[in-house]
């Protein structure tokens, strides 16, 4: 029987993957051909979604973007034998976009059925955990430290050090918490992994549990990701039944169980202490630090908190060794990062690549420039709290330290591209507006500073005491950076100042004529 893959990833569904799968099933029935349809994760080439793949003797052949209307034509052209068609791209793994990546974390994503443990194991799944179960917890921590893995959520704190802190504490109850509140615009790697390879996250968190001495873990998923919530809950059930979660995992003596909790639309809950409050059923107010969550975290107990991408990197580090992972990357940024090409881009998608790749390579070689066909003007890297960088800075290598030197941040690896129609003063205003909407309200610089920021930028745009107000905005940004409790207020000045410094012309345009606008 011929196997056809149609992704179940939310992005693929958003452009009609379900309709395509239904059309293939009914067309096959009509033609009395037996077809097995597997709903896989996404390969990450989102510009080709829905990307339909057919298994042939030569390998998997790709067609995309397929709509339900194309299905009859595909059958006619003989796509079940991998024959050519206008939507055909040949072998999936030979598509340059895919072939030129270095897939470590996303090695299985898009290849397997996300809920099949057999598939998972066939492609190296649970090798890392199997090794970890036979190791001393401190040796697991050492392996992660050796790998040079740093927090993939944006802050880049060494994961090994966090784990060591929790490992060294004596406490009757410890926890593992996964931050899957991927609220940054331009990022979707966590979602893709949770929906395309959920066992990878489960395995990474279980390894963390064994290493840190925790028997319970929580995954905090944002409510905007209902598909991820469903897939994770199912995957956890499957893993429990196969004894990869629960008591005495695979007879090792270690026990670990996982629970999924859904957020409720608060961006701030992606901040780790706010997330802890939310997991405890409270308002997502940021906590003071110290104490750090590794010492007093969830319910006041020592807690390993990492991002989805950090946990998902752990299985391969354990399976192949810390040295293997460390051999990717540059400087103090080791391993790979899942870059996400988003916004006004011709070929948007996920590109997993070792650190050191440049923005230009990502935006031009992979991305193919803008979707609108107009020149690229700027890219915002690292989410809504990341800097807007002009094209002149596109050759800085993706490396935590190099980016910091260039007054920017790699963050989560999200790259949002804008064409030359973008108004950077408007983007700066939005950064402040977003902070005003999403601030938890605990500290003054963030809560009030953001509102004042919107007002000041409005005055600058309207050409009211422009120079004075620009000076005031700069001063306000210093106050927010230095005085805010967490990254929300502390980093909001980043996009604002980068827009002001990198694109000063946009702040010096003639003021929009209110009388004329009103007359229209």
């Amino acid at each position: 029987m011929i196997t056809v893959f149609v992704p179940r990833d939310a992005a693929a569904l958003s452009v009609g993957a379900d309709e395509v799968a239904t059309a293939i099933a009914s067309e096959a029935k009509k033609r009395k051909t037996e077809v097995r349809i597997v709903r896989n994760g996404s390969r990450g080439m989102l510009y080709l979604e829905p990307l339909v793949e057919v298994e042939t003797a030569q390998g998997r052949v790709a067609y995309g973007p397929v709509t339900a209307k194309d299905v009859a034509g595909l059958f006619e052209a003989g796509f079940l034998e991998g024959k050519s068609h206008a939507l055909g791209h040949g072998l999936t793994e030979e598509i340059p976009y895919f072939k030129n990546q270095e897939r470590l974390t996303f090695a299985r994503c898009g290849i397997t059925d996300p809920l099949s443990i057999e598939d998972y194991r066939k492609y190296g799944g649970f090798e890392g955990l199997t090794k970890a179960l036979a190791m001393k917890p401190i040796d697991i921590v050492t392996e992660v430290t050796t790998s040079g893995l740093r927090g993939r959520g944006g802050a880049g704190f060494p994961t090994g050090i966090k784990w060591k802190t929790v490992h060294d504490l004596k406490a009757p109850q410890k926890y593992v918490a996964c931050n899957a509140d991927e609220g940054d615009s331009g990022t979707f790697a966590d979602r893709m992994l949770m929906e395309g390879d959920p066992f990878c996250l489960i395995e990474g968190m279980t390894i963390a549990g064994v290493a840190g001495g925790a028997n319970k873990g929580y995954i905090y998923v944002r409510s905007e990701y209902p598909h991820s919530v469903h897939v994770l809950r199912e995957a956890i059930e499957v893993a429990r039944k196969a004894n990869w979660l629960g008591d005495n995992i695979q007879g090792s003596g270690y026990s670990f169980d996982l629970y999924v909790r859904m957020g409720a639309g608060a961006y701030i809950c992606g901040e780790e202490t706010s997330m802890l409050e939310s997991l405890e059923g409270k308002r997502g107010l940021v906590r003071y630090k110290p104490p750090i969550p590794a010492i007093e975290g969830l319910f006041g107990k020592p807690t390993i908190i990492n991002n989805v991408m950090s946990f998902a990197a752990v299985p391969i580090i354990l399976a192949k060794g810390g040295e293997f992972y460390k051999n990717y990357g540059v400087g103090r940024s080791r391993g790979t990062l899942a870059f996400q090409l988003a916004g006004n881009i011709k070929r948007g998608g996920l590109v997993e690549k070792a650190f050191g790749v440049t923005t230009r390579q990502l935006v031009e070689d992979w991305g193919g420039g803008t979707a609108s066909g107009r020149p690229v003007r700027a890219a915002q890297i690292g989410g809504p709290l990341g800097a807007y960088i002009p094209v002149s800075k596109f050759d800085v290598p993706m490396d935590y330290e190099e980016f910091a030197k260039a007054d920017a941040m790699v963050g989560h690896g999200g790259v949002v591209v804008f064409d030359d129609t973008v108004d950077m003063a408007k983007q700066a205003r939005f950064a402040m507006e977003f902070c005003a909407i999403e601030s938890c309200g605990k500290c003054t610089p963030c809560r009030i500073g953001s509102i004042r920021g919107v007002e000041v930028i409005d005055k600058i745009i309207a050409d009211i005491d422009r120079d004075k107000n620009i000076a005031l905005l700069e001063d306000l940004c210093v106050t927010m950076t230095d005085g805010s409790l967490c990254a929300m207020g502390g980093l909001t000045p980043f996009p604002v100042m980068s827009a002001l410094k990198g694109f000063p012309d946009d702040f010096h345009k003639p003021a929009p004529n209110k009388f004329l606008d009103a007359a229209e």
């Binding site: 992005a11 958003s14 615009s185 905007e224 059923g281 308002r283 916004g343 064409d419």
Partner: protein, 176 residues
Amino acid sequence: MAKKVARSSQKPRREEVSATTPAQLAAVSVCARHGNRPDELLEIFHEMQHELGFIPEETLPVIATALNRSRAEIYGVLTFYHDFKRHPVGKHIVKICRAEACQSMGTDALCAHAEQSLNTPLGGTTADGSVTIEQVFCLGNCALSPAIMVGERLYGKVDAHRFDEIIAGLNKEAAE
């Protein structure tokens, strides 16, 4: 020291409220399904909203009683999170992403179109009560912007034309 307020040895006074209205009874059973655990409050609200469409004010005292928390704490959580509705909303909730990636692909125009065609501002409900439109910041579909979500269904590359088709589809569903 003389002014020290005499504290009774009783537990802090917390008004025990028992459920009488249908919404309150529903709240009690949702709380019970979650073991009356205060840390599951977000899940409780999600479930209640799924059942009732919103979280009626009258349920807060009974939730407070069930979870052994103060009414203020329950109210505080309810009002902190954007997802939770305190008043009835439209039959379908349409969330339009207004974050940066969608901005780069023209979500401002899409929002304006939505407001105009449905004759309600973002955050409002159509006159017939069928659709509530809301702004949201990021649906994780940033490579296929602009994105919207209807209920749990995600849509990508939504322009004004596609938006109208999706809304027409909802109304057709309702008519059937």
